[in-house]
């Protein structure tokens, strides 16, 4: 029996990614997948997926990020909807030209002649001593490149819904998944038409005292910080960014207008980060509502260290979010 609009199933984030990919492969014959070892699939979303659809639509590539992302641009320009995987978000640096100079600009440079319906999935974030070249959250780099859309699912349902929107979108979309979230579980809608629109944030916890704008893996830390703060009578409103480009300014600004305080939280490093852009936006558009200077919580401005002790000191946490909120309220 086909699932109804309200059926859900408890599944992991990686299974939700898989469901989105499978549904879109079945729905649209122009969708196909490429990436290194995706049939084996280190984190699971595409494991043996070639056995469930036409095998030529789930392609293991050689280790050659520049060539397969470039090939995805070429395919997108000529009628296909490629979905490529960069095994760790850190490796995206190897194919920067194809993303920044080719995918992002092809439409504008040609006076709007073409569209580039391309999705790049890339897992980022801290996870158990993965060290400097396998831990980064590079989303802020791409916010600086007009022509790219960026989303970061923080829940299994969003892992499905945002990815489906990205695949159906006519522009290049970077979907930064999170390594440490792949094995988290929650209810996921089974409806093949379930999508989560790009550019729509979600309020994960309501509160009147402070707005906490959180990205990706930091959403759950922000919610747990909110729960801890509530025991001291501080009510934080936690916003899950979901998309950075396009950004849901309305949800953000109306929350700040209500609370008068802003804390941003991300796993990327502080300088030039997502928080910098969000704070700039809020101070220019909601200056009069602010009761105190906004505070940014982020990873330290340094390469991510290997040792677990150092890694923990470098990463933001529920604790550092609580401290930031308290410093806002005390200030």
């Amino acid at each position: 029996m086909a699932p109804t609009a309200t059926d859900t199933e408890f599944m992991t984030y990686f299974q939700a990614v898989r469901l989105a990919l499978k549904e879109e492969l079945e729905r649209d014959p122009t969708v196909f997948l490429m990436g290194e070892d995706i049939r084996f699939s280190i984190f699971g979303p595409t494991k043996d997926l070639h056995l469930e659809v036409e095998p030529e639509r789930v392609l293991d590539t050689p280790i050659t990020e520049s060539a397969f992302v470039g090939a995805a641009v070429g395919a997108a320009l000529t009628g296909m909807r490629p979905v490529v995987e960069i095994m760790f978000a850190d490796f995206i640096t190897v194919c920067m030209d194809q993303i920044i100079n080719q995918a992002a600009k092809s439409r504008f440079m040609t006076g709007g002649q073409v569209k580039v319906p391309l999705v790049i999935r890339a897992p980022g974030g801290f996870m158990s001593s993965s060290a400097a070249q396998h831990s980064q959250s590079l989303e802020a780099l791409f916010m600086h490149v007009p022509g790219l859309k960026i989303c970061l699912p923080a829940t299994p349902a969003d892992a499905k819904g945002l990815l489906k929107s990205a695949i159906r979108d006519d522009d290049p979309v970077l979907v930064f998944e999170h390594k440490a979230l792949y094995f988290s579980s929650d209810e996921v809608p089974l409806d093949p038409e379930f999508t989560v629109p790009l550019g729509k944030a979600a309020v994960r916890r309501e509160g009147d005292d402070v707005t906490v704008f959180a990205v990706s893996g930091m959403v759950s830390s922000a919610v747990s910080a909110g729960d801890a703060l509530a025991r001291d009578g501080i009510e934080a409103e936690v916003i899950d960014a979901r998309s950075l480009i396009p950004l849901d300014k309305d949800t953000l600004l109306s929350s700040v207008r209500k609370t008068g305080r802003l804390v941003t939280v991300e796993e990327g490093c502080l300088t030039g980060g997502v928080g910098a852009e969000i704070v700039a936006l809020v101070t220019s558009e909601a200056w009069d509502s602010l009761k105190c200077p906004p505070v940014r919580v982020a990873a330290k401005d340094q390469p991510i260290p290997f040792s677990p002790v150092l890694e923990a000191a470098c990463a933001p946490s529920s604790r550092s979010i609580q401290d930031a909120v308290r410093s806002c309220l005390d200030g």
């Binding site: 280790i63 993965s130 060290a131 290997f306 150092l310």
Partner: protein, 324 residues
Amino acid sequence: MRDYPQDKLLELYRTMYTIRRFEETVSEMAAGGLIPGFMIHLYVGQEAVATGVCAALRQDDFIVSTHRGHGHLIAKGGRIDLMMAELMGKEAGYCRGRGGSMHITSFELGSLGANGIVGAGLAIAPGAALSAKLRGTDQVTACFFGDGASNQGTFHEGLNLAATWCLPVVFVCENNGYGFSTPRSCHQSVSSIAERASAYDIPGETIDGDDVLAVLEATERSVERARKGDGPSLVEATTHRWHGHFEDDDDDYRSEEEKEACTESCPICRFEEACVERGNDASALERVREEVEAEVEKARAFAEECPEPKPEDDASMIFAGGDA
């Protein structure tokens, strides 16, 4: 057959056996949760390549390593106690606990870095060789990389650059038949990687990478050529990866038979036989094994006991000028 002094043979044997026992110990410790991280790429089965290559190098020559780099560093003279400390993330480690398995290195020993980015070293090696040329030294750079890495643009760009500028690089491809889960037949169309040398008009040869003397002799030829100023060459050493791609890998893309077959070409057993054939008595080998066992145990005990690094020291390692 070239003659080797007995102590030279024993030295090669010691290096290979040290790599083997170090890696097996790391594997055990990783399984017991004693090594942080889930991406620990071990060198078991490939010992003859690093050992043969580094034995052909001078101490002041450079190597460029990979994600599978423990063996390279040991062969270049790495101290296994400091290596074990690094793998455990301790302050006494070669990278003060900041790098771990994938970034383990010692510049003092001429290792320009293990690397988490497949193919990155193929562009770095020509730079080190250019530097030697500009500084007027005759240092050679040996660049290790895998069959999978030979598909990155940097392989082609690096070989072309080194060939065009006649740089002293020995490109050493460790062909273990796989890039992670992908067998060579699915990731490249050529049957021999060495053949690609002809595209850059440099010598290329394929050798048995599980035969340490074959590796040593081929590398010596390439090093001599490079040192004379005749430019780079490509050595493809065929070998076998005994463990999974990394220690957490189920390795279910290879059949049990295939995995067992890997061990038939054990570079260490083969060299033991060669040593005996060449007149070494088995008890000398036995003595080396005992010494290595004790050294590995000591390294482990040292690493377990030494202190954790301090977060406040990180800042001094970001910029050369110290705290920013």
